[in-house]
Amino acid sequence: MANYATNEFKGGLKFMLDSDPCSMIDIEHIKPGKGQAFTRVKYRNLNSGRVGEKTFKSGDNVEAADVMDIDMEFLYTDGEFWHFMKTDGSFEQLGADAKALGETSKWLKEQEVYLVTLYNGAPITVTAPNFIVLPVAETDPGLKGDTAQGGSKPAILPTGASVRVPLFVNEGDLLKIDTRTGEYVSRA
């Protein structure tokens, strides 16, 4: 695989760290006026999902990770694997395990397109679109007349996720949710 030097570091760059594939989130150039330059990298370990920081000496190299992000449509789960299909017309299917799915299980919906990260050809992370529309499976009855201000209550989605919603929301309502924060945006 190719190597990247510190001056090529950028957000989204996939690299190997202690034999785990990682993705750079944030890069900071650090240099005292009269002193050595360093590059501080905030990264996500794509295997564990954990975020870490590591500093490199200016000019150091990292090994590129054989990682690819592709769009895939969610089909179904057999309980052990969650099956996705490529949207490039090949109809090729791949199964992601629970670890790869992680928190994204809260935002799963059939026929929705997800960003699947492949490492050595196998899914290691599944990222939900930024916004997703899901119905309310269970919540306290809506309060008539309360359309905007004041109060919130939990609503349970078919995926098992719980989100805080305004009091006027009813079971069966479609909700637009920001998957990055897990927050209710609006009714859809």
């Binding site: 240099k31 006026g33 330059a37 920081e53 000496k57």
Partner: protein, 317 residues
Amino acid sequence: MLAVLNAKLKKRAELLAAARLFFACRGVLEVNTPVLAPAGSTDPLLDSFTTQLEGGSVASQTLYLQTSPEFYMKRLLAEGSGAIYQLGPCFRNGELSQRHNPEFLMLEWYRPDWDLAQLEAECCTLVDELLGEAPYARMTYKQAFIDFVGLDPFAASLADLRNACQACSAIDADQLDRDGCLDLLLSHQLEPALKGLERVILYEFPASQAALAQIHQDASGNQVASRFELYVKGLELANAYQELTLASEQAKRFAAGNAQRRALGKPEVIADTQLIAALEQGLPDCSGIALGFDRLIMLALGATCLDEVQTFSAYRW
């Protein structure tokens, strides 16, 4: 948007005018020296932009964009200019971040017959005038490391320094030398700790980090540079030296700089033999200081990024 632009242009213009008035009132002369020159800085940790002079009535040659106006200003001092200051652009290759831009505005001034304490007082007065008054904490490099990093930068073993680097930054520290470790600890542990302090004068740097400063012995017998740095809210703003005046020592440091550059696989830089000649003629005892003026504007405007205060930073070329 227009209001933001106007506010930043106006603040810059005001601060420049205030700095010029400050020096005019004190009899310090404004000078302009070349930013493009046939010799550059041999500092192994500074990279110059180079360009090629072609045509005209002189031979083709490599020219350097100056990383600071230091050499020409010292030549003026040696010629008897008296106290001088310069507000002008400096260029450093490979430096781009929230707090760096490859081209930036530097305020640099020299005080013949002044020692570092006098220059420090003047620097604080200037910063008080430009940013408003605030308390200054003075601490030696050594004490700051003991208090905020938890080790003595002179006494700690290289292994201890490397362990501390690894612990705070996950860096592969086995390649770092002593100064590399200290630079890392300074930027990862000390500077963040200084953020909580309004203004800090850090002084008595290790002799290995003297650059163009004189060297003396501190109270506990360590060789230290006659140098201080001003930090404002953790941002490195100014760097001052009791200037080296000995020609032979200057020549030695140029050669050492180029030797280190070779070791790092960097191109050598043509050393300024004119400066050596000027020092041989006699540079008056003097202290000098360089202050990053764009960073000062950042602080005045409460900005977090140079890009917010420069008209067109490299992010918006």
